[in-house]
C-alpha cells in the first residue's frame, strides 16, 4: 500500500445505514486527493476544510471523517457541510467513535461507523433509537419539532 493511503476496511465498519455495497477503497488524505484525479475515497482530519472537496463530489464514493479525540467536534461540521452540498455517498465516522455520540453523528449525516474499539451492540442500538424527536432541522430528513407543531 502506498504511503499516502490510510483508512478503514469494510471489516472495520460496525454499523452502516446504507443499502449499497460497502466501499472498499483505501482513503487518502485531503491533500493527496486534491493532487490526484483517480481516488474515490478520502479521509478528512479535524483541521481539513471539507469544502475543498466540493468541486469533486461526483467522483467521491466514501468520505471518512476521523475523530482522533471524541471531544474534537469539527467532524460534525465537516459531515454537515458535505451533506448540505448534496453529497450522497457514504460518510464514515472513524477513530474515537463512542456510544454516546452515535445519535448526533447520525443527525449530522454520518451513515457508517468504524470505531477504533468495537462498541456494545445493544448499547449502540439503544443510542441510535433513543430520540423520537429533534429540535433542529439538518439534512437527515427528520422533521423537527417546530415542523410537527406547525405542519
Amino acid at each position: 500500500m502506498p504511503d499516502n493511503t490510510l483508512g478503514t476496511s469494510p471489516d472495520d465498519v460496525q454499523f452502516r445505514f446504507r443499502d449499497d455495497e460497502v466501499v472498499d477503497h483505501a482513503a487518502v488524505t485531503v491533500d493527496s486527493f486534491l493532487d490526484q484525479s483517480n481516488a474515490a475515497a478520502v479521509r478528512i482530519e479535524p483541521g481539513d476544510n471539507a469544502r475543498d472537496l466540493l468541486p469533486h463530489l461526483d467522483r467521491i464514493k466514501l468520505v471518512e471523517v476521523n475523530f482522533p479525540s471524541f471531544m474534537d467536534g469539527r467532524g460534525y461540521s465537516s459531515a454537515r457541510v458535505l451533506r448540505e452540498a448534496g453529497y450522497e455517498g457514504e460518510i464514515r465516522a472513524v477513530g474515537e467513535v463512542l456510544i454516546d455520540q452515535l445519535a448526533i453523528m447520525r443527525r449530522c449525516g454520518f451513515d457508517a461507523f468504524a470505531p477504533d474499539n468495537e462498541l456494545d451492540a445493544a448499547d449502540a442500538e439503544h443510542a441510535f433509537s433513543l430520540w423520537d424527536n429533534v429540535y433542529q432541522k439538518t439534512t437527515d430528513g427528520r422533521a423537527p419539532i417546530w415542523q410537527k407543531r406547525h405542519g
Partner: protein, 544 residues
C-alpha cells in the same frame, strides 16, 4: 411564562432516561471517567471540591412558584437543605450523589425543568434581563427570543463538542441589566428604521483570563433569520475556534485574532449558505411562544404610593424596588446578601417562602438575577408593606440592592476545585465592615464583585470594585480592581497594584470607598468618580 408541550416534555424525559443509562454504564465500568465526564457535565454534574455539584438551568432566569418549591424540595431530598443562585441565573447544589442524580433530574422534569447543557463545551443556558416583561424601558419582552434559541441550542448535534463553552444573552432594552456584551453572543432585540423588530448581534465578549467586550457583528438580523444567523456564528466558531490551547479556545479569541470584520465576513458567507438550507423555524413558532410571556392581568386604578412611615421599610423600598411599566406596580428584588451571609445562598425554607410570595404577590412568577438575587417582577405598590413584613420573617428583607453589601461572589475555594482563594469570607467581612461603619447606604450604587480565580465566575472584571483571589506561594492573596461595569456602559476594571491578604483587602476596599466619598461630585456614583479622576488618587490612598 413558557410551558412545555408534549414535545418539550418528551425531550427532557428522554434526556433523563439517557443520563440514567449513561450513569449505569459508568458505574458498571463500561465507560471511563474521561468518556463520562463530558456527558455528566452536559447534564450539569461537576465533581467539585467536596462532592458532585449539580447546576440546574433556569432558562432566562424565570421560575414559577411550583418550580421554586421543587428546587427547595430537591435541596432537602438530595442535598443539605440549601442551594446557591449563580451569576448565570442558575441554581446549584453542592452535595449531590452520582447514583441519585438521575432521580433528581427526573424530579426536575416533573416541573418542566432540567440541567441540560449547564456545563460542558456546548451552548449553555441562555440568560436575560431579570425585569423582562416588567421593565418600563424595554422594547419587547426578550424571553420569547431566548426560548426560541433555547430549543434550537438544546441537543444541537453539531454544537455539542465546541472548542469551549458558549454563552448567549438576550436583552431588549438600552439599559443592560444582564452583562450582555460580556457573553459569547449578546443579542439586543432592536427596531430598525422601518419599524421592524430584529436582533443586533454582539459576538466575542467574555470575562475569564482574557476579558473582552463583544463587538457589534451585525446591526440587524431579521426575526425570521435569527436561528440561521446564530447557526452561522456557531459553525464558523466550531470549525475555526482554537482547539490547541484551552485558554485560547473561547470565541472571543477567534474574533480577536481574525478581527471582527473578518469574522463577520465569514459568518455572512456561512449565513448565505445556510439560508438556502431552510433550517429556520417559521415565524409561527415565535408567535406560538410569545403568548406564554403576555402581560399578566394587571389591575388598574391602584395606589401608586406605599406607607413610608417605617424608616426601615422606606429604605428597603428605595433600594430594592424598581419602576414598573404598569402603573401601581413595582418589580421587587429580594436580596440574597444578608450582612455577613453567603452571597446567593438560600435555604430550602427561604426558597419555599419566596415561592409562596411569588404566588401571592407576583402572578406566580419570580426571577433569578445575575447578581444572585431573586426578583418578584410584578408587585402592587399598595401591598409592599405586607410583602416586606413577610420577607422580614424569612430573613429576606435586606435593603442593599446594587449597594456595596450586594456583593457578587463565586463559591471560591470553599467549594470550587478551580479556585485559588476563598471568595465568600471576603464578601462576608466586607459586608460586615460597611454595616458597622455605616457607609454602605452613603456610598449609593457600588457594585462589588469577587472571583476566587482568574476564570472570573464572580465577574470581578465588571465590578465598580473587583476583587480577584490568587494563590501566592500557597497562601490566599487578593488583587483589587477598579472601574469595571457590566451595564450598557460596559468597561473592564483595572488592577490597582500589588495584592493584599484577607484583612488587607477589606481595608483596601474601605480606603477606595473613602477616596470616592471625599472626591465625589453631585450625583456621581463610585464608577463615575473613578472615571473622572482616574486611578492615581486611589493608588495613593491604597499604597501610601
Amino acid at each position: 411564562m413558557y410551558r412545555y408541550d408534549q414535545y418539550d416534555q418528551q425531550m427532557v424525559d428522554t434526556r433523563v432516561a439517557e443520563f440514567r443509562d449513561q450513569t449505569r454504564r459508568r458505574l458498571e465500568g463500561k465507560i471511563t471517567e474521561d468518556q463520562f465526564k463530558p456527558l455528566r457535565l452536559q447534564n450539569g454534574l461537576y465533581l467539585q471540591l467536596h462532592a458532585y455539584m449539580l447546576r440546574v438551568a433556569v432558562p432566562y432566569g424565570t421560575l414559577n412558584s411550583t418550580q421554586m418549591h421543587a428546587l427547595a424540595d430537591i435541596a432537602d431530598k438530595y442535598d443539605r437543605g440549601y442551594g446557591h443562585f449563580t451569576t448565570r441565573q442558575n441554581i446549584q447544589y453542592n452535595w449531590i450523589k452520582l447514583e441519585e442524580a438521575p432521580d433528581l433530574l427526573a424530579d426536575l422534569a416533573k416541573v418542566e425543568m432540567h440541567a441540560i447543557q449547564t456545563s460542558g463545551n456546548c451552548i449553555r443556558n441562555i440568560s436575560s434581563d431579570q425585569y423582562a416583561g416588567a421593565a418600563a424601558d424595554e422594547l419587547v419582552d426578550p424571553r420569547p427570543y431566548a426560548e426560541l434559541l433555547r430549543q434550537w441550542s438544546s441537543f444541537h448535534p453539531e454544537f455539542l463538542h465546541l472548542p469551549r463553552k458558549f454563552k448567549f444573552c438576550v436583552i431588549a432594552s438600552d439599559n443592560d441589566r444582564a452583562a450582555m456584551r460580556l457573553h459569547d453572543i449578546g443579542i439586543q432585540v432592536v427596531q430598525n428604521d422601518a419599524g421592524e423588530i430584529g436582533c443586533a448581534f454582539y459576538v466575542g465578549g467574555g470575562m475569564g483570563r482574557t476579558p473582552m467586550i463583544a463587538p457589534l457583528i451585525r446591526e440587524f438580523v431579521p426575526l425570521d433569520q435569527l436561528i440561521t444567523y446564530s447557526e452561522a456564528c456557531l459553525r464558523v466558531y466550531n470549525r475555526y475556534g482554537r482547539r490547541d490551547n484551552k485558554y485560547k479556545a473561547r470565541i472571543k479569541i477567534l474574533v480577536h485574532e481574525l478581527g471582527k470584520d473578518e469574522y463577520a465576513r465569514q459568518v455572512e458567507e456561512e449565513f448565505a449558505h445556510l439560508l438556502e438550507q431552510g433550517i429556520e423555524p417559521p415565524l409561527a413558532e415565535l408567535e406560538r411562544i410569545k403568548p406564554f410571556f403576555a402581560d399578566p392581568a394587571f389591575k388598574t386604578g391602584l395606589p401608586d404610593k406605599a406607607d413610608r412611615s417605617d424608616d426601615q421599610f422606606a429604605r428597603w423600598v428605595d433600594s430594592n424596588c424598581m419602576p414598573h411599566k404598569a402603573p401601581g406596580y413595582v418589580a421587587v428584588t429580594i436580596s440574597l446578601k444578608p450582612v455577613g451571609g453567603i452571597p446567593g445562598d438560600a435555604s430550602s425554607a427561604q426558597m419555599h417562602a419566596m415561592a409562596d410570595l411569588a404566588k401571592d404577590y407576583s402572578f406566580d412568577e419570580c426571577r433569578v438575577t445575575h447578581a444572585q438575587n431573586i426578583v418578584l417582577p410584578h408587585v402592587e405598590i399598595g401591598r409592599l408593606n405586607e410583602l416586606y413584613a413577610k420577607l422580614a420573617e424569612a430573613d429576606l428583607a435586606t435593603a442593599n440592592i446594587d449597594q456595596i453589601g450586594d456583593i457578587i461572589a463565586c463559591p471560591g475555594l470553599d467549594y470550587c476545585s478551580l479556585a485559588n482563594a476563598r471568595s465568600i469570607p471576603v464578601a462576608q467581612k466586607i459586608s460586615q465592615r460597611f454595616e458597622a461603619n455605616g457607609k454602605g447606604e452613603l456610598l449609593g450604587t457600588l457594585k462589588l464583585k469577587i472571583s476566587g480565580c482568574i476564570n472570573a465566575c464572580g465577574h470581578h472584571h465588571a465590578g465598580h470594585i473587583g476583587i480577584l483571589g490568587v494563590d501566592k506561594k500557597g497562601t490566599e492573596n487578593y488583587q483589587l480592581l477598579l472601574g469595571g461595569s457590566e451595564a450598557e456602559d460596559t468597561s473592564l476594571a483595572k488592577i490597582t497594584g500589588p495584592g493584599f491578604d484577607e484583612a488587607g483587602i477589606v481595608d483596601a476596599v474601605e480606603k477606595a470607598a473613602d477616596v470616592y466619598l471625599a472626591q465625589r461630585e453631585d450625583g456621581e456614583r463610585f464608577l463615575d468618580t473613578y472615571r473622572r479622576i482616574g486611578m492615581d488618587p486611589f493608588k495613593e490612598a491604597l499604597y501610601a
